[in-house]
Every structure is written in structure tokens, then in C-alpha cells.
């Protein structure tokens, strides 16, 4: 199917075409949504909202020869950032205070003389650790570490200063490591039970 044909079918709101595109790009969209969101439910909502926005932006393109999959990879990230920033009660409040539900704040590594190997942590622990970050730190960590953006580019995407982005990245790394420690301990405790 050519790009022009795809454009015509999407403008007519052809459901079959949309389903094919949704199914083909769902793995990429879900991986981005999981690491950007605080839980799985929010990730599914993000996928639906951002996919609609990407299709609308694709229809507004002047160059109709561009491939939809290539266009989606950059557009979906932008829409995901907008989605997180739109949740104002989480984004602007949680950025300054710790996330609720943290009872045990003791992150003493040498309490039980344990050496923690972060590189052996399970994917679920890593996902849970990154979802435990505050939204601003989560966005910066994902864009820098996972998606490979540089600090000036991240500052432009988040509409913040480079110094703010750098500060958030340092805080994100610190809390990410601490979250891994906590989640590893919890997982070991659950296994012991």
C-alpha cells in the first residue's frame, strides 16, 4: 500500500486500515507507554490517545510520501510527553514532593552487608523502578537513557532550561537506583515467603 493510498483511506476513517496500523505498531507504542506512565492502566490510555493524535498529525503532513511507521516513531514520543504533562495534578505536584505510599525510606546499602548487583535485576523490577519516579524525572530519564536524546533536545521538548533537565536527570538516576534496591528487597522478601 502506497503512502498516498494510506492517506486517502485514513482521511476516510477506514477502520480496517486503522486496525492494521494499530496492530502493527502496538509493540512500539506499548513499550513507550509503559516506561512513560506510572502504571499499566495509564499506559493503555496513553496508547489510545497518542495513536489518534499521530493519525491526525499524519493527515496534516504536506509530504504524503513519508512512511507512517517512521513518522509514528518520532510523533508518538512527542504525544506521550504531552500526555504526561497534561496530567497536571501528577506532573506539577509530584515533581516537587516524594510520591505517596513510601513508608520505608531507609536506603542504607550496608544495613545487612548486602552487595546489590543492579545488572541482574529482572525487567519487572526495572519497569516498576522507573514507574516509581516522579513524572518530570521519568520523562528526562526515558528521553536521555532509552531514546538517546541529548540534554538541549530534551530541554526543547519539555520546554525547560538545560540546567533543569540536567538536575532532573541526576535526581532520576539517584532515585532509579534507590527504587531498584527497594524493589529487589521486596522481591526477595516475597520469594522468601
Amino acid at each position: 500500500m502506497s503512502a498516498n493510498d494510506l492517506f486517502i483511506l485514513l482521511s476516510k476513517n477506514d477502520l480496517n486500515t486503522k486496525k492494521d496500523l494499530f496492530e502493527a505498531n502496538y509493540p512500539f507504542m506499548s513499550s513507550v507507554a509503559i516506561r512513560f506512565s506510572k502504571n499499566e492502566m495509564q499506559a493503555k490510555q496513553m496508547v489510545i490517545a497518542c495513536f489518534d493524535s499521530v493519525i491526525q498529525n499524519f493527515l496534516l503532513l504536506k509530504n504524503r510520501q513519508s512512511q507512517f511507521s517512521e513518522f509514528l516513531k518520532t510523533a508518538f514520543l512527542t504525544e506521550a510527553v504531552k500526555f504526561i504533562k497534561a496530567i497536571r495534578n501528577e506532573y506539577y505536584v509530584a515533581s516537587t514532593v516524594y510520591a505517596p505510599g513510601e513508608e520505608n525510606k531507609n536506603y542504607n546499602l550496608f544495613e545487612n552487608n548486602e552487595i546489590i548487583d543492579y545488572n541482574t535485576a529482572a525487567p519487572s523490577v526495572v519497569i516498576k523502578s522507573i514507574q516509581g519516579l516522579v513524572p518530570s524525572q521519568r520523562l528526562v530519564f526515558n528521553l536521555y537513557v532509552v531514546d538517546g536524546y541529548q540534554l538541549p533536545e530534551i530541554a526543547e521538548i519539555l520546554e525547560a532550561s538545560e540546567q533543569t533537565v540536567k538536575s532532573n536527570l541526576e535526581k532520576a538516576r539517584y532515585h532509579f537506583q534507590k527504587n531498584i534496591e527497594k524493589n529487589l528487597k521486596e522481591s526477595k522478601h516475597e520469594q522468601a515467603l
Partner: protein, 208 residues
Amino acid sequence: MSRHFSYEIDERRIRILLKENTLPFSEETWKNYLQQSKPIDATTKIPQLNLPAISISKPALLTGVFIILVGGFTFLIAKFVDFSGAKSNINLVREVKPEPDNYRLPQSPEIESSKSITENTQPKDSIKTEPLTVLETNTVQPIISSPQPSTNSNTLQVTNLPKNSVPEDSSNKTVRKKPKKEVEIMESKPLNTNIPLITPEEPELELK
């Protein structure tokens, strides 16, 4: 944040882990999408203008706005205010047309006739400033009006010289007389000598 914090996480491994972590696609997911998705609006086909992101700090923007406002007001005021000097450098020069009639005073016909007589006797151009001879004396005695002038040297004498004559002795100090101007002969009415005798009734004085 602790000062002794050492970041020991391998970010390359974290990147691979997070990119490979996906959710499985199911029909339920597609049904959820159909329930929650919004139809594509025809109006959204209008191309959006991608304006360049210009980062201007608030202080700089406010300063620029104030400068523009003040400059605008100054320009408005300058339009209505004349900044040239109060006294203009242009000297207004009246053009005077050289007409001899401008310097002549209006005169009555009688005066003109008398004037013509005087003109015959004494031309205008012949007015001369003639000094009079004055004899200096130590004492000044009152001038006695007499038909013949006294030849006493002690008295101050003024010789009435004719107008056109030139003094013979120029060594003595002379007093210059002001040049006589033409005297306009005005009309004179004859005096009435017949004075009406109106005697008021006076009370008779009683001589005692």
C-alpha cells in the same frame, strides 16, 4: 541526595530491557480503542503553522514593551511640539518703496501758498549755519533794550547780523546758532479790540 552516591547501573542494559518490554495485542485492546477514540475531524486538515520557538526571557520582553510604549508616546508628543527656537532667526524686513511722496506731509492749500512765498525769498538749500559773533566781557549787565545798540565793550552785545552775511572776524569765539527752519505761517485771526464793557454791579464801598 547523598554525597557518597555512586551510580552503578548499566544504562545500556536498561535501554535494551525497556525497549523489549511490550504488551501483547488483543481484540480487547482494539475494542477499547474503538470505544475511546475520537473520529477524525475534517477541520483538522488545515495545516498547522509551525512557528519557531523563540525563547525570550520575561524581563527582556517587558523591557522591550516599555521601550516601544515610551518611544511611541515621545513620537506623538514630538509631532505636536515645535522644537524650533522661540525667536526666529528670520529678520523681517519691510520693503520700503522709494517714493518721495511718502515723506511729504499733507498740507492745506493756504500753507502751500505761504510756503511758496518763503521759497521765493529764501531757497531751502541756502540755509546755512552761521555763527554769531559774541563779545566776551567780565561782567554781565542786563540787556537794555534800545533801538541802537550800545558800543560799550563791557556789555554783552549781540549783533544782529543779517542772515546771509558772513562774520568778518572769525578769530573770536562764535556761538553757533541753530539753523533756522522754515516757519510755517499759520492762519491768525485778528483780535477783536472791541471788548464788550460788561461791568458787574459792584457794591459801593463805604469810605470811613
